[in-house]
């Protein structure tokens, strides 16, 4: 079968289908990265003027900035703890538990866990600040007082625990939703068959559920790892990166250097590092989870 003017049509389809996404990607990723690379090699300061080009910022990143190593370590702890414990681990647990419940109560609990995601981030962060306020007016401390325990001050003594909790409680819902729909999509007869064969709940999860949602697990891990790497709004709102530098993750560090101190060029160089680390991490995880296999053309023609 031949299509008249098929070439033009193919081109038009390409532009129509890929155009908007490509345009967005170019405008909001490629252009900023190019601008960022440009700024990173200038001396742009608080007045946003460029008077010359220099490699000083990159040199400072690799030699002069003694704080950078500890900031990277903090970032690693923050990303891995939030990701493993909450965004993937707890999200999966919630999905498993709520799908095991009857539909109505399952939806109810999912809705509760989805609430933080629906509230504006400033409100959510403020609620956390009130909960952990170190005085006896803080919600946590009122509970501790009521059961006769000493007052706690998470913000000063365990700031990392606090930011992991605050980010985790909001992050878990993303995994929960994706895993729930994946679990729902597993054909029911597999569960029946397993039960007939005498498999217990744990064996069912291990041998049926987990293998079936492998791709979703990989996707959530990669996606959330990258999201955590560049996110700092809750940290900024709750602990402000402190006390001292205890919860200053890389992205927040970039923000502080660039926008608190007006060192835009150095901030640009630092964020270039973030783009680099993010890209390497994405490629490594992609390879690790063998995501290419997921995106291959299906071998069977469906329907």
């Amino acid at each position: 079968m031949r299509f008249p003017s098929s070439n033009r049509r193919i081109w038009l389809d390409r532009v129509l289908f890929l155009g908007p996404a490509t345009l967005l990607l170019v405008l909001f990723f490629v252009v900023p990265v190019v601008v960022d690379i440009g700024i990173a090699f200038t001396d742009m300061g608080r007045d946003l003027r460029v008077t010359g080009f220099t490699t000083e910022n990159v040199q400072r990143m690799f030699g002069g900035d003694r704080r950078l190593t500890s900031v990277m370590l903090t970032t690693l702890i923050y990303v891995s703890c939030t990701l493993v414990i909450f965004n993937v681990g707890y999200g999966l647990l919630l999905a498993l538990l709520t799908t095991a419940l009857p539909d109505r109560s399952g939806s109810f609990f999912r809705a509760i866990w989805f609430l933080p995601r629906m509230s504006p981030s400033v409100v959510y962060a403020l609620l956390w600040s009130w909960v952990v306020a170190p005085t006896d007016y803080g919600l946590l401390n009122q509970v501790l007082l009521a059961i006769g325990l000493p007052l706690a001050d998470l913000k000063s003594n365990f700031p990392m625990v606090l930011v992991v909790l605050a980010n985790g409680f909001i992050g878990a819902s993303f995994g929960m939703i994706i895993f729930t729909s994946a679990i729902r999509a597993i054909p029911q007869h597999l569960f029946y068959a397993a039960q007939v064969d005498g498999a217990g709940p744990l064996a069912i999860i291990r041998h049926i559920t987990l293998p079936a949602i492998r791709w979703q697990l990989s996707f959530v891990t990669i996606y959330q790892a990258l999201a955590l790497l560049v996110s700092f709004e809750y940290i900024w709102l709750i602990t402000n990166g402190g006390p001292f530098f205890d919860t200053t993750v890389y992205a927040l560090y970039v923000y502080r250097r660039a926008f608190d101190n007006g060192q835009y060029a150095y901030g640009a160089a630092l964020s270039l590092g973030l783009v680099l680390v993010g890209t390497i991490l994405a490629l490594a995880l992609w390879r690790f989870f063998d995501m290419r296999a997921l995106l291959q053309r299906p071998r069977i023609e469906v329907g």
């Binding site: 608080r46 007045d47 946003l48 003027r49 400072r60 002069g64 900035d65 003694r66 704080r67 600040s129 306020a133 170190p134 005085t135 001050d153 913000k155 000063s156 602990t239 402000n240 402190g242 006390p243 001292f244 530098f245 205890d246 926008f259 608190d260 101190n261 007006g262 060192q263």
Partner: protein, 459 residues
């Protein structure tokens, strides 16, 4: 007689004609003003808006066809440093205001970038507005010896303390009333202040000995100044890190935190918690400035109600500057004037400058001073009834005699931010004072590159 009539008719005709011509050509000029949204000084913008009225009257009297209207943009920044960075950004994209409010230490940066009008001749030509400004305040508006801004207000910072708690631990009235004089004479030192706070806590009169601001700002600079620190080399104008003096200041903060005088988490407390702790009598000492008196110390805010009269107040609360570091030394004080800056590139720069001149008149400035407890900018204001009625200003004004300013160096904001981090480090136990000095030297020399001079000891 006829001649006169003719003259009168001609005059009438010409003024009528002029009136109609000006009416038909009347031009409204919009002057854009940028002032940070700040509840401790709404009249910083308000006075410029109000100054349009006398300016318009003067323009009309001079036969000008212009009328001026002020449009205010209230920046959402949390402090003057963040606001100054926002203003710089606005200028960089040609969205800068015609006139703006800034903390005085930013004048250098604005002047260097060409965003601040040089005002020496304007000040000289308009003595009716500027002739009576307290001379020392001009120092805070200069960059390389020239005036680039007009003082908007000044203030006094101090350690407030609760006299009732001293009575509770058995101190007599003579001791309590004698503290300010002992501080002035250099007999009562920083260490004595810490010891007294510790005694109050140990004897159970208050759970907290001393609280201070939770973020970077000017207050703690006077503490370091009391320990002999100077932040600028007077000869070269370079920023300086005097290691020994700063270290003594950090040791004082570290010891206070370690001894239970200052909460270790002071820097992560909210303003409400800090101010509330003093007002609800949970903290013995609060380090801030005179405007705090109206902002929260009188009235029912922050969890307690205090009457609004001088006698009651001074029976309960006392204040002192930062005491001397050693016996016989000098106490230290700090003022942080806010200034008006005019954009020289604006086509309305002349009108904006005139608005500033009118807003600097005692009538307007005293309204700001009295309502927000900032000290006056001109000598004459001190005898105005409105100013005298604000008893806290009257009581605090003598402390201006010893006042010093934050260095007018464009990089001092960054210096101060890092100094605050070091203070937070020692208070929370993340750094020893010695490590904090290493941290300061490393961070400051990295940030300021060649612009920093490190000295082991000043004297």
């Amino acid at each position: 007689m006829r001649k006169i009539r003719l003259l009168a008719a001609a005059l009438l005709a010409s003024t009528t004609l002029l009136g109609t011509v000006t009416a038909s050509f009347a031009e409204e000029v919009v002057v854009k003003m940028w002032a940070r949204a700040d509840r401790s000084g709404p009249l910083r913008a308000g006075n410029i808006v109000a100054a349009a009225e006398p300016l318009n009257a003067a323009l009309k009297a001079a036969g000008s066809d212009k009328t001026v209207r002020v449009e205010v943009f209230e920046g959402p920044a949390s402090g003057f440093d963040a606001d100054a960075l926002d203003i710089l950004k606005a200028f960089a994209v040609n969205q800068g205001p015609d006139v703006y409010v800034a903390a005085h230490e930013w004048v250098g940066e604005f002047a260097k970038a060409g965003y601040a009008m040089e005002m020496d001749s304007f000040v000289q030509k308009n003595p009716w507005a500027f002739g009576d400004i307290i001379p020392v305040l001009w120092n805070s508006t200069k960059y390389k010896g020239k005036i680039y801004a007009i003082p908007q207000d000044s203030e006094i910072r101090m350690f407030f303390y609760n006299k009732d708690m001293l009575r509770k631990i058995g101190k007599d009235e003579a001791f309590i009333d004698g503290i300010p004089a002992a501080v002035e004479k250099g007999e009562f030192t920083m260490q004595d202040l810490s010891n007294l706070a510790k005694e109050v806590v140990d004897k159970g009169a208050a759970p907290i000995g001393m609280v201070h601001r939770p973020n970077a700002g000017p207050d703690y600079l006077m503490t370091f100044a009391a320990f002999g620190a100077k932040f600028v080399d007077e000869q070269t104008g370079q920023l300086v890190l005097p290691k020994a003096e700063i270290r003594r200041g950090l040791e004082w903060y570290a010891a206070n935190a370690a001894n239970g005088v200052t909460p270790k988490n002071n820097t992560s407390m909210s303003w409400d918690e800090i101010q509330g702790a003093f007002k609800t009598e949970k903290a013995f000492i609060y380090h801030q400035g005179v405007w705090a008196v109206t902002e929260w110390m009188v009235g029912d805010s922050k969890g307690a109600n205090w009457p609004n009269d001088r006698k009651w107040y001074f029976n309960k609360i006392g204040w002192v500057p930062a005491p001397a570091a050693t016996k016989g030394g000098q106490p230290a004080n700090l003022s942080h004037p806010i200034v008006y800056v005019v954009n020289p590139k604006s086509k309305n720069a002349d009108l904006a400058a005139m608005l500033v001149a009118y807003a600097s008149l005692p009538y307007y400035n005293t309204k700001h001073a009295a309502t927000t407890a900032h000290t006056a900018i001109s000598n004459g204001q001190r005898s105005m009834p409105e100013y005298l009625n604000a008893w806290y200003l009257d009581a605090a004004t003598p402390m201006l005699a010893r006042t010093a300013f934050i260095p007018n160096h464009p990089d001092f904001g960054r210096y101060n931010g890092i100094l605050f981090k070091a203070l937070q480090g020692v208070e929370t136990g993340r750094l020893t004072p010695e490590k904090a000095i290493d941290f300061l030297e490393d961070e400051l020399s990295n940030e300021l590159k060649g612009g920093l001079k490190v000295v082991e000891k000043l004297s």
